[in-house]
């Protein structure tokens, strides 16, 4: 029982240090933990928190779903077909390291300032990791599975649906979990720059319109919590029994 309390104790100690460090500093710019909590209450009262959360989640969902719908089939094809892989890999490798944020000027050019631009950025942020996850998942299928499928006379279509798909799903789900996290990171960044609602915007706005750093940090805490919840939600998907075959130990 005492062992379980230790991480909580560590968090408590860190919070105390934070409180202490801020109150000691004569400039008192950073908020104390307590002020952050009050800030969260403030936001809830004004109904802003819910509104902004919904906006951010809305954009993430759209961007993520679009990325899944496009990246997964494309990735499976590229992973499966060696020539397709040879053809597309260099271009993809070049585009991959370009941060979604670097696309901001182009996305504003194409979509203007607003929801579409933000969704596009999230889509970009999710697309590449998912694409490569799908490619690697297909290339990692043990040859024995394919050979067994062929041995039993499966048609190409059946091979894809009865061997390929089940084989790649565990890895895809992990990839989706990680990519959802990335999407959540990008939405915050996109909102800081390109739109006028959402949690990212909250952070920038709170600072610009009055130096409300308590709200800034409150926003960060909430962002972290939601990110954690999204991650936990996806992890529970991984535990569905029919998908568990690939997790021999976790």
């Amino acid at each position: 029982m005492i062992v379980r309390l230790r991480p909580i104790a560590l968090i408590a100690v860190l919070l105390l240090l934070w409180q202490f460090a801020v109150t000691r500093n004569p400039l008192h710019i950073l908020p104390t933990p307590w002020e952050v909590v009050k800030g969260i209450g403030d936001l809830l009262q004004h109904g802003l928190l819910l509104k902004y959360m919904v906006a951010s989640l809305f954009r993430v969902t759209w961007g993520f779903v679009l990325a899944v719908l496009l990246a997964v089939p494309l990735g499976l094809i590229i992973g499966w077909n060696r020539r397709a892989n040879m053809a597309f890999n260099p271009v993809l490798q070049l585009l991959r390291p370009i941060s979604p944020l670097a696309w901001i000027p182009l996305s504003i050019l194409w979509f203007g300032v607003g929801d579409f631009a933000a969704i596009f950025l999230i889509f970009l942020g999710c697309f590449f990791p998912l694409l490569f996850t799908a490619i690697n998942a297909v290339r990692g299928i043990p040859a024995v599975y394919i050979n067994a499928g062929r041995n039993f006379g499966l048609s190409s279509r059946a091979l894809v649906s009865r061997v390929l798909f089940p084989a790649v799903i565990p890895q895809l789900i992990i990839g989706m979990r990680i990519t959802l996290g990335v999407g959540w990171l990008v939405v915050v960044a996109a909102e800081m720059i390109a739109v006028s609602s959402g949690l990212g915007f909250l952070i920038v706005d709170a600072r610009n319109a009055g130096n409300r750093y308590d709200l800034v940090v409150a926003g960060m805490v909430i962002i972290g919590l939601i990110g954690l919840l999204l991650d936990m939600g996806m992890r529970s998907l991984e535990h569905l029994k029919s998908l568990r075959w690939s997790y021999s130990e976790d």
Binding site: R6, P7, I8, A9, L10, I11, L14, I29, L30, W80, N81, R82, R83, M86, A87, F88, N89, P90, V91, Q93, L94, L95, R96, P97, I98, S99, L101, A102, W103, I104, P105, L106, L109, N136, V138, R139, G140, I141, A143, I146, S156, G181, W184, L185, V188, A189, M192, I193, G200, I203, V204, R207, Y213, V216, G219, M220, I223, G224, G227, L228
Partner: protein
């Protein structure tokens, strides 16, 4: 894997060149046909790159970005690897610290930007700290993972030959964990490269990220925007390739037997 006809060697160059050529052609002609005045064609971008090199701006920005990455990533490695080794070696310590890490991890470095600006002001330090924070977590996680997965035979053998704890850590645990640590470093470098661009767009006024934003803001020079984007992609690719090359060194390659 399924095409029963083996692709020939020349195909390795043919297909990518074909797709790139098609892509460039589509790009070029869509610019011409829509008669857009703003969006650059491939040739415009090429001229843009030449202009940047000519004006001596490009190298400075590249060096600035790389410098920030080097410092932030370097610091993250120097602190993260030993920390990860210790946490992996003492599971009790890990149980205490891990929840804190799990809470801090989803907070994007970009969300830390306001705090960084508050504490450090606009400039190099803010950018480097953001890179440090972004790179730190993957490195710690990978190091912990690497150490906890060292097969017990290796530790037992090390103790059997009379190695004390210090030698055990340096001669057995560290080499055994190294493949996973290197993967973590490669991923962290990728993240660092993304973060530096983001940080430069918001918190500083030099570097490749700044070049992207500035080219648009001061004159809608989209040819330079795209040029900067391509250079970002290229350098990111080079950095990643360096690490993948590291992974091929013989005393580390054993840990990657299953990777394609």
């Amino acid at each position: 894997m399924n095409s029963l006809v083996e692709p020939k060697k020349w195909e390795k160059f043919f297909w990518p060149m074909l797709t790139t050529a098609v892509f460039l052609a589509l790009w070029h002609y869509s610019v011409v046909w829509t008669a857009t005045k703003i969006f650059p064609s491939p040739l415009d971008v090429k001229k843009g790159i030449a202009e940047l090199i000519h004006k001596n701006v490009l190298w400075g920005d590249i060096i600035d970005s790389l410098r920030r990455v080097a410092i932030g990533f370097g610091a993250a490695a120097v602190i993260g690897i030993p920390l990860g080794l210790i946490l992996g070696w003492y599971p009790a310590a890990n149980k205490v610290v891990n929840p804190v890490l799990q809470i801090l991890r989803p907070i994007s470095p970009i969300a830390w930007i306001p705090v960084a600006i508050i504490l450090l002001g606009v400039g190099d330090h803010a950018a480097t700290s953001l890179i440090f924070v972004g790179a730190l977590f993957p490195i710690i996680v990978a190091s912990v993972d690497g150490v906890s997965n060292v097969p017990s035979v290796f530790r037992l053998a090390g103790r059997n030959f009379g190695l004390g704890p210090a030698r055990l850590l340096t001669r057995v645990v560290f080499p055994a964990a190294l493949p996973k640590i290197i993967v973590g470093l490669r991923i962290a470098l990728g993240i660092a490269w993304l973060v530096v661009v983001a940080a430069e767009m918001i918190a500083v006024d030099s570097g490749l990220g700044y070049l992207v934003i500035d080219s648009r803001n001061s004159g809608k020079r989209y040819d330079l925007v795209v040029a900067a984007m391509l250079i970002i992609g290229l350098i990111g690719l080079i950095l990643d390739s360096c690490f993948r090359w590291l992974e091929k060194i013989k005393s580390v390659r054993w840990g990657f037997r299953d990777e394609s």
